[in-house]
């Protein structure tokens, strides 16, 4: 007997399995008429505070659920639950992002069939979450003023995969050298379709327009299903 050595061409993305899982989840949610938003940002940009503002505007008119992903702890889910909206905590167990399989578990736990909108708060990180399709209907990110206007140059992938960018903490614009015009140009260079909205989760400014974006997209999703 002789050993036989052979090279097999594969040429396939290792993330392909995740992409397929994500697509399956998207189809399921489409059938259920549940809009899933994947919200990303670096730690401390204000994901949870922005979610609370969005809930204020929308909770009377649609059924909403929130999934909070964190490496550990459940402080975020508790905060959201206090606002009267159903929230679950997903622990990623050390992982820096959510993949489609973990998102699916959360969706299952939330029992989404009766929900119009689910907001997924991804792990605070501008790198890895951009890489993994969660199965969301749309992707959004938050860039906060103190992080600086050069973030789109440093994390181009994140800015190129999102549909909505919230520029948060505009109430402290005076204290930072943040060129709003330049940041918008940098984002649109990477991603001409991105909608950019200026907000302050602290004062509530700008969230009427965010709520409008949600209404429009949730309705669109329903019509498409």
């Amino acid at each position: 007997m002789m050993d036989q050595v052979k090279v097999i061409e594969i040429q396939k993305s290792v993330l392909e399995n995740n992409d397929q899982e994500a697509e399956k989840l998207r189809q399921k949610l489409r059938k259920e008429k549940t809009f899933l938003l994947n919200l990303m940002s670096s730690p401390g940009a204000g994901k949870t505070s922005c979610i609370l503002r969005i809930l204020e505007h929308l909770k009377a008119e649609m059924q909403i659920g929130v999934m909070e992903a964190d490496i550990d702890s459940s402080v975020d889910a508790e905060k959201v639950a206090q606002s009267g909206v159903e929230a679950i905590q997903l622990h990623t167990g050390g992982m820096c992002h959510l993949d489609a399989a973990m998102t699916e578990q959360g969706i299952h736990q939330l029992d989404t069939e009766r929900l119009d909108l689910v907001i997924l708060e991804n792990v605070g990180n501008l790198v890895c979450p951009a890489e993994f399709d969660t199965g969301a209907s749309k992707n959004a990110m938050i860039l906060s003023i103190p992080e600086g206007d050069d973030k789109p140059l440093k994390y181009p992938l994140m800015f190129s995969v999102v549909d909505l960018v919230l520029i948060n903490k505009i109430d402290c614009l005076d204290y930072f050298e943040f060129d709003m015009q330049a940041v918008k140009e940098r984002i649109h260079t990477l991603n001409p379709q991105a909608v950019i909205l200026e907000v302050s989760a602290r004062t509530g400014e700008g969230f009427d327009r965010v709520a409008e974006w949600f209404r429009k997209n949730v309705n669109q999703w329903r019509k498409e299903s």
Partner: protein
């Protein structure tokens, strides 16, 4: 550190292909990693021995090819390298850009070893 979970998927995928060929071992694997992929090649090399231990890939030779980030100009269709030009088209100066490569984490090929069963199996090509 997501390299670990991505590498576990990589092992799964490689084994799946090797089993289809009735291989006993995978003796080599070639990966393509884009420069804008969130996977760091040094980590991949570092983690590879641990992740492959006890799998068909144990002891396999790892080779990694970096794929540069290429960008297509939305205005004139020129494709250029991001590392050299940033997001400004060298042909027309436009900054409207779309990333066309450099995000991938791919298995290009695997090298498998199987015992030649002296014909009769119908599995070899």
């Amino acid at each position: 550190m997501h390299e670990m979970s991505i590498l576990m998927s990589m092992v799964e995928m490689a084994e799946q292909y090797a089993k289809q060929q009735h291989a006993e071992r995978i003796t080599g694997i070639s990966l393509e990693i884009g420069e804008m992929s969130a996977v760091v090649p040094e980590y991949v090399e570092f983690l590879f021995p641990d992740v492959t231990e006890g799998t068909m890939l144990e002891g396999a030779e790892l080779s990694i090819r970096r794929q540069p980030v290429c960008v297509r100009c939305r205005d004139c269709d020129t494709v250029y390298e991001w590392r050299k030009e940033g997001f400004r088209c060298p042909a027309c100066g436009s900054e409207a850009a779309q990333i066309v490569s450099g995000r991938e984490f791919k298995i290009q090929s695997i090298e498998i070893r199987k015992e030649d069963e002296n014909d009769g199996s119908g599995e070899s090509h």
